[in-house]
């Protein structure tokens, strides 16, 4: 960890990681008291990712959490009571008892989109959020998370490819905790680095140690700034480890002991405390003060949650449809003149032509196909296609690189 943040930023990151863990510890207690209605998922050991990435967003930006991103919700401004009440299925919860866990959102104020249990769906949804924000001139960035497991869904690829074609201001955090329920990442994806998935969409990616919150934040900040500046979507792979089972019911006996030991010794909060102490940003007294503050807050929040009523049964049949303006008055927040997107200003010449395509030269000056088979095999002339030329990985993958001719024929086969 290197020092480059303000003192307040360092302490904010610490506060939110501690709050994240304390909220989840409280929920484990509630779970054991049978006060949590459904499942309880843990982000133990992954707090640095949720907190470090969400902290890189501005207030106006949008995020959509996954099940293990309670920390991101807290950073965005969700009060702990909402998280407790969601899990306890209470009437005062954001979904009023209609859904649990982190499945809630806030379109009006906090700009949070609710996840669903089907993985990957948030990627095109947040791409749409990013596109709409750009269209309205709001200069926002949209962020969501996906696991190593979720990165194998079809909609992950559809969404990220579409985001890339649109150059949407979108940042995707690929949280590689190495386990999809009981299936290790090595059995899911034949890649050393899941960040390599970005190459398939022609977008940039980063790999970061997910247990180093400062590195996570710095990387996320750079990605968010670049996305906001119009450089298109960015993928960040944050490597970490899921310390608990898939959920409370799962003892995760399938995890090798050595692996667990290794990662438990790299607890993100303990590592960060060591750093903060060495940098004289934290001492025993200020640490104690922060703990007391969090304890006092959570006692209050938990009391509120426990005292909230369960929803009245007949509430089950309410709210399937929006009933009109009295229910929701839907109005976009324009941050640019509407005249820019209405005729005559919006009118364009509809042109087929994509620069260089089909004319024998690519947009980068390289060779573009007139028809398949025209392109020089990439390895015979690696410079000619610029970025498109596949680089032979320096890593030992145990496989020979495919011959150039196979690459050319596979392009053909794709049709």
């Amino acid at each position: 960890m290197k020092k480059s943040l303000t003192r307040q930023q360092y302490l904010d990151l610490y506060y939110y990681m501690r709050l994240n863990r304390a909220v989840e510890d409280t929920m484990v207690k509630l779970f054991r008291q049978n006060k949590i209605v459904g499942g309880l998922y843990s982000s133990l050991g992954q707090e640095g990712i949720s907190v470090g990435t969400a902290y890189a967003l501005e207030k106006k930006d949008w995020l959509a959490p996954m099940i293990r991103n309670i920390g991101a919700l807290l950073v965005k401004g969700v009060p702990p009571r909402d998280v407790f009440m969601q899990h306890m299925a209470k009437y005062d919860s954001p979904t009023k008892g209609k859904d649990g866990t982190s499945h809630f959102g806030d379109l009006e104020n906090l700009h949070i989109v609710s996840p669903i249990s089907m993985l990957g769906d948030l990627i095109p949804v947040m791409t749409g959020v990013a596109m709409a924000g750009r269209y309205l001139g709001q200069k926002i960035v949209a962020m969501t998370w996906i696991g190593d497991g979720g990165s194998s869904t079809g909609v992950f690829h559809e969404g990220l490819n579409f985001a890339a074609t649109q150059k949407a201001p979108f940042v995707l955090i690929l949280e590689n905790n190495q386990w999809a329920y009981s299936t290790p990442v090595r059995r899911q994806v034949p890649l050393e680095n899941l960040a390599d998935r970005a190459k398939a969409y022609g977008i940039d990616s980063y790999i970061v140690d997910g247990n180093d919150v400062v590195a996570v934040y710095s990387t996320a900040k750079e990605a968010v700034d670049r996305a906001r500046a119009g450089e298109g979507p960015i993928l960040i792979e944050a490597k970490s480890f899921r310390r608990m089972g898939h959920a409370q019911h799962d003892p995760a006996e399938y995890v090798p002991k050595e692996m667990r030991k290794h990662w438990e010794a790299r607890d993100p909060i303990a590592l960060y405390e060591k750093f903060l102490t060495a940098e004289k940003l934290l001492d025993a007294k200020s640490q104690k003060e922060m703990e007391d503050k969090i304890n006092a807050l959570l006692t209050k929040e938990r009391d509120f949650a426990e005292n909230s009523p369960m929803p009245p049964a007949e509430f089950a049949e309410h709210g399937v449809y929006c009933t009109g303006d009295g229910c929701h008055k839907i109005e976009p927040q324009w941050a640019r003149p509407k005249s820019e997107v209405t005729p005559p200003k919006s009118s364009v010449a509809a042109v087929w032509r994509v620069e260089g395509f089909g004319e024998g030269k690519g947009s980068g000056g390289g060779i573009a196909p007139i028809h398949f088979g025209d392109t020089t095999p990439t390895e015979a002339n690696p410079e000619s296609e610029g970025k498109a030329a596949p680089k032979v990985s320096a890593k030992k993958t145990g496989k020979k690189p495919p011959p150039a001719v196979a690459a050319a024929s596979s392009r053909k086969a794709r049709r």
Partner: protein, 335 residues
């Protein structure tokens, strides 16, 4: 095929169903810059059936968005856009492909308002239905998947007037709407449309032909086939009342019940396959709410419970037609 189902102060040259769809999108985009169109080949090409022709030239790349072949991404992105107040119209190149985005529609879009107070004002539209030898993947009527999904609205119009008015209403509705356009009707019927802005209310059926001996409930292309059968039935002294459902979700129970309470007999005609079709739902409603008024069993004329076959003799056998409707209606009238 018959022309002019609605006069409604019509003026100007009659237009096709296709043209009515195009006019609706054009006028809604003109009216409200929050309306955008997103789909495969909708931009420069103007859509596979040319329903978005000219939109890109007028409204630009930000509002007429060509996408990769990624139906889940189209629906997902439209949903995200709607969260910021936009009103995207998603085109499925053929409605058969809507099932590629089934999860996105049924789990994300449809449940948002109920679960977390997030309306998703998007329209998902595209060409549907058989009779044009499109084969098993370009002829589907997948409306009932969505009628079975609370949170969605499902519209399936039969005339250019309704297509335009209902599409405009769908764009202005705060809920996600599935909008089916029967491609058999695209160029086969023409109608004069009013020059001024109008909408047709979602959830309202309409009586297309009055009668007293039995009620025929139908929608989309089969509404025209039912009218054809009704004309033949009239020659034999059987006066069939033909009702065009127009919206399948929410279903206009009031119009259905009023008619059946008058005629005491009900025949449902749909091009969708039989098992799990809307006829079964209507039968249940009539049993619950008009059992004492029925003089005979609810009858149905539908497509076979098979995929849509390709070869003309097979598809003709698969589809309902006026002859089958005529025969069923005669049988029902005997009760």
């Amino acid at each position: 095929m018959a022309e002019n189902y609605a006069t409604n102060g019509a003026a100007g040259a009659p237009v096709t169903f296709l043209e009515a769809i195009k006019q609706a999108m054009f006028e809604e985009m003109e009216r409200d810059p929050a309306v955008v169109v997103i789909g495969e080949d909708v931009g420069v090409y103007g859509g596979a059936f040319k329903t978005s022709e000219g939109l890109l030239e007028r409204f630009g790349w930000d509002r007429v968005i060509d996408t990769p072949i990624s139906e889940s991404a189209i629906i997902g992105a439209a949903c995200g856009m709607s969260y910021l107040g936009l009103r995207p119209i998603c085109e499925m190149q053929f409605i058969d492909f809507v099932v590629c985005a089934f999860n996105q529609i049924t789990n994300f879009v449809a449940k948002g308002h109920y679960l977390w107070n997030a309306p998703a004002p998007i329209v998902i539209r595209g060409p549907s239905g058989g009779g044009v030898h499109g084969g098993p993947f370009h002829s589907a009527n997948p409306e009932m998947y969505f009628v079975h999904t609370p949170g969605l609205k499902v519209i399936y119009p039969s005339t250019p007037y309704d297509a335009k008015g209902l599409l405009k209403a769908a764009v202005r509705d705060n809920n996600p709407v599935l909008f089916f356009e029967h491609k058999f009707l695209y160029r086969r019927i023409k109608e004069q449309l009013p020059p001024q802005d109008y909408t047709v209310p979602i959830g309202k059926a309409v009586v297309r032909r009055e009668g007293k001996h039995l009620t025929i409930l139908s929608y989309a292309a089969m509404m025209h086939t039912s009218l054809e059968a009704a004309a033949a039935l009239a020659q034999e002294g059987i006066e069939a009342e033909v009702i065009d459902l127009r919206t399948l979700l929410p279903l206009d129970e009031e119009t259905i019940l009023n008619s059946v309470k008058k005629t005491n007999r009900c025949l449902v005609v749909h091009e969708d396959t039989k098992t799990g079709g809307i006829a079964g739902e209507i039968a249940a409603i009539l049993c619950e709410k008009a059992f004492g008024h029925l003089d005979g069993p609810l009858m149905r004329v539908t497509a076979l419970d098979t995929p849509v076959p390709y070869s003309p003799p097979l598809e003709d056998y698969f589809l309902p037609n006026a002859k089958k409707i005529f025969a069923a209606a005669k049988e029902l009238a005997r009760y």
